[in-house]
Symmetry: C2
Subunit: 165 residues, 2 copies
DNA sequence: CGGCGTTTGTTATAGACGATTACAATTGTA
DNA sequence: TACAATTGTAATCGTCTATAACAAACGCCG
């Protein structure tokens, strides 16, 4: 029994401190760095909002996707998350071991599993979604409704566009 | 001797694929997920732009910060990056081993090192900055100048605000 | 001056996560 | 029917980060 059992920590739980009196040079003008800062702030808030549930951002995404797309294959799940098949499998294992997700054989394809939320998984996911949605709104309360929509639009535009070279 | 020496890969090099015909449910309405998508897109572009230089986003940030704040301590560097002291030290080690950064004793504080770019580190950082700035602009070419400024402003607002609870 | 908490750098260790590789089973196709 | 492609799986490796513990140096306070 470990006294200080390390709870899960998102990649960068420590908020990025704005060290006063430091010159940030070009960093403040770069979208990459600004995105990073904003995302870490979100991570921290996410962790606080879901504390004790053992959920990470990728796990949250996976549960939502499985819930909205019953029967999705592990490979496709990996594609959505941007991770390799092997990783998607471990992710699915984690859910199955906790009784949140079931693997069901597909009638027409003997290779792929179909992932489904169990009854408990549905309840769990519903509760989780409420929490995360609330957190997201709370976190963006510093923005007006118009600003929030605009931010979503710009982010979408940014990630959607393909850039040559 | 490994035949397939794995080049460094940022945490999620694989672009997050928009799987057609899939229901993303509430994810598209969440700032957290949108930020993640945009950031991964940036990671991929960053990797392409700096390929062969062995640089990662945190390393880039560190070089810029050291260049703009000569004599900064390793602890403060960690604070800027949001990582623990020990990690900042390994980061500094990596630079020192490559002759990009020098550790100099401080006259008035025998504990802390002062980090400085070496001559070669300056050249390297300058070249790197040019590349990354160009990448950042190229990547955001899908946005108008106004939109880009607005995005930076909103991101700053989002990461800056402290939220209770 | 002397003790004590604090800060810094450092080392060692452990854990989380993802990639890669290889393999078997299955499917689709030439 | 042979062969390429896809899926899940297992084993292994590498990277990154946190934690804990320690020594040296600093600052403060009695």
């Amino acid at each position: 029994m470990r006294k200080h059992a390390a709870p899960y920590r998102p990649r960068a739980l420590t908020p990025i401190a704005r060290v006063p009196g430091l010159d940030y040079d070009v960093l403040d003008e770069l979208l990459g760095y600004s995105l990073r800062r904003a995302q870490v702030a979100m991570f921290v808030a996410f962790d606080k909002a879901t504390r004790g549930m053992g959920v990470t951002p990728p796990r949250f995404t996976a549960l939502v996707i499985i819930g909205a797309n019953p029967g999705i294959s592990q490979t496709d799940l990996g594609r959505v998350l941007g991770i390799a098949r092997s990783g998607a499998m471990l992710l699915a294992d984690w859910f199955v071991r906790r009784g949140l997700v079931e693997r069901r054989r597909r009638p027409n394809d003997g290779r792929a599993w179909g992932l489904h939320l169990s009854r408990e998984g549905e309840r769990f996911t519903a509760r989780l979604k409420r929490r995360v949605i609330a957190l997201d709104l709370r976190r963006s309360r510093c923005l007006s409704a118009r600003e929030r929509r605009e931010l979503l639009r710009l982010l979408e535009k940014l990630s959607g566009s393909r850039v040559e070279a």
